[in-house]
Subunit: 495 residues, 2 copies
C-alpha cells in the first residue's frame, strides 16, 4: 500500500521521542474516520491524507509538549479519540500542511470517583466500555451510549457534543458534564466543578462542540448515577409515521421524560427486524435506580393509545415483580440489537456494493411534517438519480426515518439511506446524496447536525446555519488561543 | 437633588431624537440597580453615576441606531431591562466615560406563539407579568419566576442567566431558551429555532450570561408549557440543616425532579414565618399539566422520612380529588408570601437601619458540609466585626441559609444576612461583609454566583473563578464584535 512519506521528523531524543511515531500502521489507522466515504476509501486502500506522525501521549503534560512542538514546526494537530467521526473530523485533509494525529488513548483512566456528588473525573481517552467497567466497580454508570460507544471516547464525546442513550432530558454529553480540562496553546483551560452556575457565559459550553479547534480535552468531571434497577420497555405500533409523531409530541410535552422514546418508520422498523413493514413502531422505555416506573409507563401508554397507538406487552419490571417478563425476543430488543450491529453491518454493505449512510437533524414540531416530507422526497429523488433506480416502487432506494431524541419543542429525526452503489463511484455518489440531504435540512430550518458534529464534511451548511457574529466571535477566540492555527484546521472555522 | 449635567447631547432631529432622552427622572431611575448598596444610596439621594442619556427604543432597528450613534460618540451603552440587578450590572460606574442606559421597555410584545412546539417569540423588554399575561390568553406559561419577576424582563433573564421557579431540571432561563436574537455593533446575531443541536459550540450559550457585553438582546424564542393543573406541595421538618441536606441530596439524585425542593434552615424558616425556629423546613412541590403527581409526592416523602423528615399535610391536588385541601395558611404558603414580599421589605429594613442583603452560590455535595460551615462562620465573624455585635448569642447577626435550586451533584445555597447597620456607613459595611462572603465562596470552591450574575460587583472573584484561556477567548470575541468597547464596559471583562 502506497503511503506518503512523513513530512515531519519526530525528535530522536527528549520526552517527545517516546510520544511521536511515524509507524505505518498508526498513520494508516489515523488517516480516516468512520463515515461511509471513509469505509469505502479504506476498502480501496486510499489513504490520501495520512497524518505525518501520530502522537501517543501518556499524560496531559505530553499533550502540552506536542502542542508546543507542533507550533514550532507549524504542523497541524488533529485530536483523535476513538476515530469514529462520520463527518471528516479526524481526517487530516490539509493539503501541503504537515499534521500530527494526537491520539488520547493513553489517557484512559478514571482519576477520581465522588460517590457523594455522583460524579467522576475521567480522562479523555477512556472508551465507553472502559469507563463503564471502571464505574461499575463503584455501582455507578454514565449511561452515555452513542452508537459508537464501543470505540469512541469521553474526550471525543465532549468535543463533538455526542448524543447518547437518553431520548429526553440528558440527550447530549453536554448535560452530563460538570467541568472540563483542556490544554490550549495558551495554557490549561480548566473549569470549576459546579453543579450549576450563572457566572458569565458557561466556559464548558464553549468547549463542548469545539471539535478540537480551541484545545485538546484531557479530562472531564461527569455526572454519573447508580445503575438502574427498575426498567420497563414497550413497543407501540402506529398506522403511519405522522400519527406516531403526534403521539411522541404529546409524550415529549407530558413531563414524563421517558428514557427511551424512539419512533421508527415502518420501513426502518422492518429493516431492523423490529417490525413487519406495515406498522410504524415507537420504542418506549422508563428506568430508575430509585423507584418503580411502571406507573409512568402506564401513563405514557395511555397517551400513546389516545393517539392511535397499539401497545405490545410491557417488558421488564421491578426486581421481585413477578407479573411481567424480562426483555426477550420482542420488537424492542430486535431494534436494540440491530442498532448496535449497524456500524459493523456497514462494512458488509460496502463489500456487497450497498450504499449505506445516514444523516440527522432536529426541527421544531410545527415544521416537522413538511420538513420530513421535503427531506424524504429530496433524498429519494437524488438517490434515484445518482444510483439509476426508480424513485418509487420495487427496487427503489430505501430512505427511512426514526427519532433518536425528542424535546418538548421538537424531534431529532435520523435518516438512513440504503441504495445500490456503483463500484468505484461510491464516494462521489454519497457526496452528491449527502449534499442534497444537507440542502434539504438547512433550507427546511433544521440543524446540520443534532449529534454527529460538523467536522469538515458539514462545513458549507454549518456556515449557513450559525449566526454571523457568532462565527466572528469563535474565529477571534480561536485566533487568540491558537495563534499558530495548529488545532484541527478546517474544522468549524477558517482562520 | 444634585445630578451631573449630561455629557452627551442627543441629536435634535432624525430618528434618534425620539429615542434618546436627557430627562432627569429617567436618568435618576437608570442610575442604580436594586442591591442593598443601591437602595441605601437611593435613599441618600446619591446618584453619582447617572447615565448621560437614556435610550428608549421602540423597535430593534432603534437599538441598532443607538449602538451606531454611541460608537461614533465613544459613549458606553448599558443595556437595561427591569433594572433589578443586584450586582452593579446596570450602574454606569464608568468614570469620565459618558454613557447611555439602553432601556428595552418599549420592546415588550409577544411576537409569535407556536402552540404546536410550545414555544413563543417574545421581545426582550417584556416583564414577567406582561409576558405571563400574554401567554395566559393561549393557555400557556413560561413559569420562570425569579424573585425579581414583577419588574425584570426576558432580555435581562437571558443576559444574566436568571434562576427561576423550578428547583430541578429547568433551573435557569438557559434551559427554556430555544433561540436568541441580539444586536451587536457587527450586525445581528440570530440563532435558528432548534429543539436541540450539536453543530459546534452553542451560539445561544455564549449570549446567555453575556450581561450585555457582546450584544443587546432584542427577542428570544422560549419554551413555554400548558398551565399546570395538578399541583401538590408539602412542608417537611428536619432536626438540623445537614439532615435536611442529606434528604435533599437523595431527592435530587432520585430522578423524581420535584418542581419545588427548597430547604430552609431553622432561622430562615422562622424569619419568613414558615417555621418555629426549632426545625429546618423543606418545601417540596410537584406539578404537571398532564398527569396526577400525588404518587411522585408520596415517593419523595418516603425518601424524606428515610432521612428523618417529618412531613406535614400534603396540600393541593388534582381537580376533583376531594381528599386533599387546597394550599392555605400553611408553612409552604407562608414561605411563598415572604419570598415575594422580601424585596419590598428591604426598603423598610433600610429605613429602619437594618443591614440586609444576600449572597448565593452552588457547590458539589461532597464539599457542601465544610463549605457551609466555613461560609457561615466567615460571614458571622465579619458581620460581628463590622457591625460591632457579638458573633453568637442574643443580638448576634442573623445569617441564614436556604437551597434555591438543587442538582444531582450539588445544591445552590442562598445566604441571607440581617444585622444592625451603622447610619451613613451601610454601603461600606455591606461591601466588607460581601467581600468576606465572596472570599469564602471562592476559596471553598463555589461559584461566585448561581443566578445573580457577575456585573461589576463580583468581578474580582469571577476573575479568579473562570479559566484563564476562557477569559482570553471572551476578551477576543468581544473585541471583534464590539471594537469600540461600547457595550457595558467593566462587566465580565476588561478590554
Amino acid at each position: 500500500m502506497a503511503l506518503r512519506e512523513p513530512r515531519l521528523r519526530a525528535p530522536a531524543s527528549g520526552p517527545l521521542a517516546e510520544v511521536l511515531t511515524k509507524d505505518r500502521h498508526e498513520r494508516i489507522t489515523h488517516a480516516l474516520g468512520k463515515a461511509y466515504r471513509d469505509v469505502v476509501r479504506g476498502f480501496r486502500g486510499e489513504f490520501d491524507n495520512p497524518p505525518d506522525l501520530v502522537a501517543l501521549p501518556a499524560a496531559a503534560a505530553d499533550v502540552e509538549a506536542v502542542l508546543a512542538w507542533c507550533e514550532e514546526e507549524e504542523a497541524a494537530v488533529v485530536p483523535y479519540g476513538g476515530g469514529t467521526s462520520v463527518v471528516g473530523g479526524v481526517e487530516p485533509r490539509l493539503g501541503d500542511r504537515p499534521s500530527v494525529s494526537l491520539d488520547l488513548r493513553g489517557l484512559d483512566r478514571i482519576l477520581e470517583v465522588d460517590q457523594t456528588s455522583m460524579a467522576a473525573r475521567i480522562q479523555a481517552g477512556a472508551t465507553g466500555p472502559a469507563l463503564e467497567e471502571g464505574l461499575r466497580e463503584h455501582g455507578l454508570t454514565l449511561r452515555h451510549f452513542p452508537q459508537s460507544f464501543e470505540f469512541s471516547t469521553l474526550g471525543g464525546w465532549v468535543a463533538t457534543r455526542a448524543g447518547g442513550h437518553f431520548a429526553t432530558l440528558e440527550t447530549h454529553i453536554d448535560d452530563l458534564v460538570e467541568s472540563v480540562r483542556a490544554v490550549t496553546p495558551r495554557g490549561v483551560w480548566e473549569s470549576r466543578r459546579l453543579p450549576g452556575s450563572g457566572a458569565g457565559p458557561s466556559p464548558d459550553r464553549l468547549l463542548l462542540g469545539s471539535e478540537g479547534i480551541l484545545g485538546v480535552i484531557t479530562d472531564a468531571w461527569v455526572r454519573v448515577r447508580p445503575r438502574p434497577r427498575q426498567k420497563v420497555s414497550c413497543g407501540v405500533e402506529f398506522d403511519g409515521f405522522l400519527p406516531g409523531a403526534a403521539a411522541v409530541r404529546a409524550l415529549s410535552q407530558s413531563g414524563l421524560h421517558p428514557a427511551n422514546c424512539r419512533l421508527l418508520d415502518a420501513l426502518e422498523a422492518a429493516t431492523t427486524g423490529a417490525g413487519d413493514g406495515e406498522s410504524d413502531l415507537l420504542v418506549l422505555g422508563f428506568e430508575s435506580a430509585d423507584h418503580p416506573v411502571d406507573a409512568l409507563m402506564d401513563t405514557a401508554l395511555e397517551i400513546a393509545r389516545d393517539h392511535g397507538g397499539r401497545p405490545g406487552a410491557v417488558r421488564g419490571a421491578a426486581p421481585g415483580a413477578g407479573n411481567r417478563r424480562p426483555a426477550a425476543d420482542d420488537s424492542v430488543s430486535s431494534w436494540r440489537s440491530a442498532f448496535l450491529a449497524a456500524p459493523y453491518l456497514r462494512d458488509t454493505f460496502v463489500a456487497c456494493g450497498v450504499l449505506s449512510d445516514t444523516f440527522e437533524t432536529a426541527i421544531t414540531w410545527d415544521r416537522f411534517e413538511s420538513f420530513h416530507a421535503a427531506a424524504m422526497e429530496a433524498v429519494r429523488e437524488k438517490v434515484a438519480e445518482v444510483c439509476g433506480v426508480a424513485p418509487n416502487g420495487p427496487g427503489s432506494p430505501r430512505v427511512t426515518c426514526r427519532f433518536t431524541h425528542v424535546y418538548p419543542d421538537g424531534p431529532a429525526p435520523y435518516f438512513t439511506v440504503l441504495a445500490p452503489a456503483r463500484r468505484g463511484g461510491e464516494v462521489e455518489q454519497w457526496d452528491e446524496i449527502k449534499a442534497a440531504a444537507s440542502e434539504a435540512v438547512i433550507d427546511g430550518g433544521g440543524t446540520i447536525t443534532h449529534h454527529h458534529a460538523v467536522g469538515r464534511d458539514h462545513r458549507p451548511w454549518y456556515d449557513r446555519q450559525r449566526p454571523g457574529p457568532f462565527a466572528a466571535a469563535l474565529r477571534s477566540a480561536k485566533a487568540d488561543l491558537d495563534p499558530g492555527a495548529i488545532l484541527n484546521p478546517g474544522v468549524l472555522i477558517d482562520p
